[in-house]
Amino acid sequence: MIKYALRRLLSTIPVLWIAVTACFFVLRLAPGGPFDGERPLPPVILKNLAIHYNLDKPLIQQYLIYVGDLLRGDLGPSFASEDFTVAQQIMIGLPYTFTIGTAAFVLAIIIGVAVGCLGALYQNKTPDYILGALILVGVVLPNFLIAPILQLIFGIHLAWFPVGGWGDGSIKYLVLPIVVLALPHAGRISRITRGSMIEVMNQNFIRTAKAKGIGPRLTVMRHALKPALMPVVSYLGPAASYLLTGSLVVESIFGLPGIGRYFVNAALNRDYGMVLGTVIFYMVLIVFLNLLVDIAYAWLDPKVRNR
């Protein structure tokens, strides 16, 4: 297993290098530069800035400087935030995104699996229809629509939670963003769980369990849940990478200092260093999360483990 994990990690190095190289050159080809804007800077200032950020050098030399710095673990400067390097900004934003993302991830699994199991147990009965309709709302409505609605109801009218901000980081500040972030994933998890559970419940070993007189709750918990979760686990990898890399929409609407907005803002600002830094960060995170999913898969399915 360790050998497998190491091999997987090593195989990502060339992928990462190709991605960084492609990203580096594509960014430079994009029209508009980091210092273009409503107020054009005089040529003398532009020249000074170019020298300051090595942008006056030939492109290939800029690339070699970047890769050299990268190998030393330096993600370079950010053009849009001069007081913090790219690495410092990611490290500052990460705890916020990680806290919200992890909580949303756990909440999505709990709600999704519970609702999915109930839906399967009450297949085509009233609770199934009600839960299915509620879940559909979570999946279909985009979070830029749900967030303001929740802010209006629970923030302004009922005043149960703050409308936005991180505040002191206490739970009351986090409830709304976590719920908004978790809802669509909870919906998808519940649908996958329900379908998978219905399939498992029709299999022979479940019939045998039922024939032995084991109650439906115990049947589900002891026999059906584990195999039914296999497709859910496949979904958890991409879901986790989405949640842990932060959501631009949720962070923007709730004014949270996470890293979700970095990539889009950096791309719009032509903040070359920040775009590359976030690409590298996302890729490393995705590789790591996919590895975790594979390990979880192996734990759930002995056939995978013995392969």
Binding site: D36, I45, N48, I51, E82, D83, Q151, V163, S252, P257
Partner: protein
């Protein structure tokens, strides 16, 4: 009750009291974007200026109405030729670490600003100072050649290249703030980090969470600290205006520095007196490429300008009542008085359209031979709405418009390259003076996107800037402005407005043309 419990309860009570009192006088400001830096020489946005102007103070500063008033300098004299300014610093002014602010700190800051190796974006705003531009270009390498000298610790002398009547206004800009030489030299680039940074303004920063907020507290070393009514401010990063308005309604923000225009009517009814919409020193205009046919023909440019129904754009298309622009310099700009206007300003719109049709016909265009134009704008709902509306206003003239949008960086890149027939642009004044607007149409200036060129105009602007008598200067400038308007050098559309929402518990907030509201002038009702 044992000793530990007593201590715990006492500190808990004290903590609660402190927390309560701190909350009571802390201003929560929705400030828009994330500051690029706290270093005044690395800033470029109004959201950064709000923080910088609270924590630093220049020789001259703003009052609540944005008029220049003594800041770190208690007085100044100007030489008869208008070139040499001598400032006397206040007694006892200190940095937040207790060290004295000296004339040397100003010399250090100005030298650092123009030093090319520091690549300060806005260094050019102080190019009126003797040798500033030459040093920045690398033509002079000795920083001591800059026209800023410390006569002694309390006296600073600034020599200009030419007499510059708006120089005091330019000194209010953050590029003219002093820097703590002792800290910058000791800490290098890290001088600006929280924990290291030392400031000389009414407040000092104590916390910066990128993407969230910057917190300031009262700077007890500032000469007027005892008169401050607000203990500190939290400047929140939040670019989503809808979300900001919700947080304001929930009482989480005391001031919004912008709001969604489509909410203005709702706010007037539901938050009476809280939405402040006021004239702002900025112009929204369309660039028109006067170097290429058919736009090189003045009649075409004028026809397009006349057919824009400016009266409906502010009230109906934007909904916030922006005033129609018929001049190049917004009314209310300092050192100017009433601006020059296009000659056809007061014609009824119907007559304007008829005249526009006539002009286009003379230029060879009409329903049989329609004029085709490309109109470029940067991606934004309001820019799009205005472009669609103006294209429909040009339709009766037989003008077919193709709308092309691009993200801001790409759009301005195209404007600078001159790859535009008609393009959207805007200008917000850096300092309150007509030169800041009129300069946009001078030949060869980068921001002259339409490449309009008129030697007489250029000469008038040069002459105006050499004139020390403000009245005569305004007359010369007005002649230049009239020349540009008569030639339809560009198409002014509306004057910007500032859009703030201010809680009724805030006092001292005065609308002004630069939209600058320093915390020091505000107070908060209980």
């Amino acid at each position: 009750m044992n000793q530990f419990t007593k201590k715990f309860l006492a500190s808990a009570m004290l903590g609660t009291l402190l927390a309560f009192s701190a909350h009571a006088a802390t201003l929560n400001i929705h400030n828009g974007g994330d500051p690029q830096s706290l270093d005044p020489q690395k800033l470029s946005g109004d959201w950064e200026n709000r923080i910088a102007g609270d924590i630093f103070e220049g020789l001259v500063t703003e009052d609540a109405k944005d008029n220049p008033v003594p800041g770190q300098a208690e007085s100044w004299t100007i030489s008869p030729d208008g070139k040499v300014y001598t400032f006397k610093l206040r007694d006892g002014i200190k940095w937040s670490d207790g060290q004295p602010v000296t004339a040397g700190d100003f010399v250090f800051a100005f030298q650092r600003l123009v030093d090319p190796k520091n690549a300060a974006d806005y260094a050019y705003l102080q190019f009126t100072i003797k040798n500033a531009e030459k040093i920045n270009k690398g033509e002079i390498t000795d920083l001591n050649e800059l026209g800023v000298k410390a006569i002694d610790d309390k006296t600073l002398e600034i020599t200009l290249e030419n007499p510059t009547p708006y120089f005091l206004n330019a000194l209010m800009h953050y590029t003219a703030y002093p820097l703590p030489k002792h800290v910058v030299e000791a800490k290098g680039q890290d001088w600006v980090k929280i924990g290291n940074i030392v400031t000389n303004g009414p407040y000092k920063p104590v916390e910066w969470v990128p993407g969230s907020h910057v917190t300031t507290v009262k700077n007890d070393q500032w000469y007027g600290a005892k008169d401050l009514k607000i203990d500190g401010a939290k400047f929140f990063v939040l670019e989503d205006q809808e979300a900001a308005l919700k947080r304001y309604r929930a009482g989480e923000f005391d001031i919004l520095t912008d709001f969604p225009t489509d909410q203005y009517e709702w706010m007037k009814k539901n938050l009476p007196g809280q939405a402040h919409v006021a004239p702002f020193s900025g112009l929204y205009y369309y660039v028109i490429n006067s170097t290429k046919p058919p736009f090189a023909d003045k009649r075409v440019r004028q026809a397009l300008s006349m057919a824009i129904n400016r009266e409906v754009i502010g009230p109906q298309i934007l909904g916030t009542g922006e005033l129609p622009a018929y001049s190049w310099v917004p009314p209310g700009t300092a050192n100017y008085g009433e601006p020059a206007y296009v000659s056809w300003k007061d014609l009824p719109y119907k007559d304007k359209v008829e005249e526009a049709k006539k002009l286009l016909k003379e230029a060879g265009f009409g329903p049989d031979h329609p004029l085709t134009a490309e109109l470029k704008y940067n991606t934004n709902d309001n820019h799009k709405r205005i472009a669609v509306a103006i294209a429909s206003m040009w339709k009766p003239l037989g003008v077919n418009v193709e709308l092309v949008n691009a993200e801001t960086k790409v759009h301005y890149d195209q404007l600078q390259r001159g790859e535009v027939q008609i393009g959207r642009a805007g200008w917000l004044a850096d300092y309150n003076d007509p030169d800041n607007f009129l300069n946009l149409l001078v030949t060869g200036v980068q921001m002259n996107y339409g490449r309009w060129s008129n030697p007489e105009y250029d000469k008038l602007i040069k002459d105006g800037n050499a004139e020390t008598d403000l009245k005569k200067r305004a007359e010369i400038f007005k002649k230049a402005e009239q020349l540009a308007l008569d030639d339809s050098a560009a198409l002014p559309i509306y004057y910007y407005v500032s859009k703030n929402v201010v809680s009724p518990k805030i006092e001292g907030f005065v609308d002004n043309i630069q939209d600058i509201h320093r915390t020091r002038w505000l107070s908060m009702k209980e």
